[in-house]
Amino acid sequence: MKRVFQLVAVLSLIAVITSTVSHVNAQSTGLGVNPRKDLTVYPGKSVSDQLYISNLNKNVATKVNLTVVDFKANGETGTPALQLDENVPQTPWSLKPFITLPKTVELGPGETKYIPFSIRIPENQGAGSYYSAIKYDPQPSEGSDTVVISGAPSQLLFVTVPGKATELLTLKKFGGYVIKDDQENGTFKSLYINSQPEKLAYLLQNGGNVAENPSGSIQIKNIFGKQVKLIKNANPRENLALIDQTRRFEVCIDAEVKEVEQDGRKTQVEQCKNPKFWPGVYRAHLSLFYGINGSNTQEINATATIWYLPPWFIAIVLVVLAMLTLVIYKVRKSLVGTKSHKRRR
């Protein structure tokens, strides 16, 4: 009994000493999922499909919560802004009313499962795009005295309901584009002095009810109207402009796949390369098309002007101009001299 009292006393002392303590519990979760799914569902019909999920941890079983989360666009990029707060109102394009899927899934160590789910679109549902994300949340380990760090992959789910939808993309900007070092932002540019124009971009504002995936081409002509470059696919990554989003679409004038070495390992990266333009003025003609199945095809056409004037070219032009001025001056002077000479005679 005495020993028990001593033990309690020691434990109490420890508790007092470590009174401001915190822990981090790194929950070892590794999951593999489909990153995105695109489906077409006609009004009044339903589709059944499967979600792929894999527990990558070969030693530990896990229980995963499946949650439907709405999302919006995050600025001009393709990064989704997940509406994770439970109090956030449902988006008008949410899939929540239409989707049925299990709330939890149990996965053994290293196990892969295909989870059935279904989407039912009511008969009177209007045509357009409906989308949400499915978040795969591994259940945290038990214990209230820890900081849990976990990783939850999520999958984007886009459903197109065919028919006469409201489709309205408005072109806000089109031209040369220079990306900043953060690879996120950049600036539109029409005059290039120190470098060649390598990238074009356009901003499209989506005022309709369809997540639009525009396609088309860009033709670049020189000052004489001759085609110097043709970008056959103006949206090579098949990016989307979400509903209410002003989306930036970027495209290389000339693209190349380059091998890059990182940490001793080689990887291939697609990059924009120097298009090797001659100095001068160029016009880029953008032709874009969009429209879902059963809706009218819409077209956007625009032209941007790009000047490429490197310093050496400006220097040559200045020298030539100076020489011309000098020649004109000399000729004029000699003519004036001849006339005055004749008059004197």
Binding site: S22, L39, N57, T77, L82, S287
Partner: protein, 349 residues
């Protein structure tokens, strides 16, 4: 003499130019314009399906039209060569219904071309539509294809173009085929990640230890992602700051250095020297990058919902090190402080 002829000559030239201009304006060929309200409906958009198409359009120019040329291409632009979409076959297409401008029949047909012909007649304002049965979709689940349309006064789709325009369509599966190797997003978080495949994960407890106002306490965990999806991914941090019941260690909401003695909780994904913790991203997925301001060494913050890393295309394995710091002021109420930090990795679009 010379002075009296000059004005007359100028007048004659001016009159000739005027007459010439009027004549050119009247007799010059009308420029082709785009069809209005053009669209296409595919009854089953699945790649490789045989189905029916309804092509609709409104003739813009009131003119005598004898043929409508429909060319199916991989690109909508008229001045580009037409590459037939792989797998598409309209050579067995049958015109089963028509409205608006009617009287057409199929006059010419190949794998990617249909020419509708009729006795030349004047067009009206109505929206015309043409239904073609037995049309075979292009292969692939997300293949864009286009119909380049032109109207002509001739009956064989040749000669001057009256109206023109393209309609766009995409093969989209109603149901994905899960038997295919799908794009995968691999994502894991742990104290230590020992391989590219997220199968060897290590570490359950990382302890800040006993907190005191005299020094900064710090620790780290690892985040790893890769995807073969062309859109790339983004990683968002969510959660709350450290709390013990109602007692709170304030989160840093703008990038700030670590100050011992000031209540602070924050993180970043950078290689820090003060305190000496963290690392730059590693691994071959070089297009995976930490997003500002979480890439700034020695500056920490925590805002739930912030994007901390992104990639813009197919990305091989990339490992990020998240460093956490905590400082407490003198008089921080004792307790066991805890929080939940979840990293959510989502495909981009």
């Amino acid at each position: 003499m010379y002075r009296s002829v000059a004005p007359r000559f100028s007048l004659v030239v001016a009159i000739l130019v005027l007459i010439g201009g009027i004549a050119w304006t009247v007799v010059r060929p009308a420029e082709a314009v785009r069809f209005q309200n053009r669209g296409m409906y595919i009854n089953s958009a699945r790649g490789g399906d045989t189905t029916y198409y309804i092509i609709s359009l409104q003739y813009t120019t009131p003119a005598v039209v004898g043929s409508l040329r429909l060319e199916f291409c991989g690109n909508p632009i008229p001045y580009l060569d037409c590459d037939p979409p792989a797998g598409l076959d309209v050579s067995n297409g049958v015109l089963t219904a028509q409205s608006g401008e009617t009287g057409f029949s199929i006059g010419q047909q190949t794998q990617n071309l249909i020419v509708l012909t009729r006795t030349p007649a004047m067009t009206g304002n109505a929206v015309a539509s043409y239904r073609f049965d037995n049309m075979h979709n292009p292969n692939g689940s997300h293949q864009d294809f286009y119909v380049r349309m032109t109207s002509h006064s001739s009956t064989d789709g040749t000669g001057p173009i009256i109206d023109y325009g393209s309609v766009t369509a995409t093969t989209t599966p109603e149901i994905e085929l899960t038997t295919q190797v799908p794009p995968i997003l691999i994502f894991c978080v742990a104290q230590k990640i020992n391989d590219d495949d997220c199968t060897d994960l290590q570490g359950h407890y990382v302890n800040f230890g006993e907190l005191s106002p005299n020094q900064t306490f710090y620790t780290s965990s690892e985040i790893q992602a890769r995807t073969n999806a062309q859109y790339g991914y983004s990683i968002v941090v969510t959660g709350t700051t450290m709390t013990s019941g109602y007692k709170v260690i304030p989160a840093i909401t703008t990038p700030t250095e670590s100050f011992p003695g000031v209540g602070q909780f924050g993180l970043n994904l950078a290689d820090n020297s003060s305190p000496d913790i963290g690392a730059d991203p590693t691994g071959p997925g070089v297009n995976g990058n930490v997003v500002a301001p979480y890439d700034e060494p020695n500056k920490f913050l925590f805002r739930s919902g912030d994007v901390v890393a992104t990639s813009d295309s197919v990305t091989r394995t990339r490992k990020y090190t998240a460093s956490y710091i905590v400082n407490v002021p003198v008089g921080q109420p004792p307790g066991v402080y805890s929080t939940t930090i979840t990293y959510v990795c989502t495909a981009s679009f």
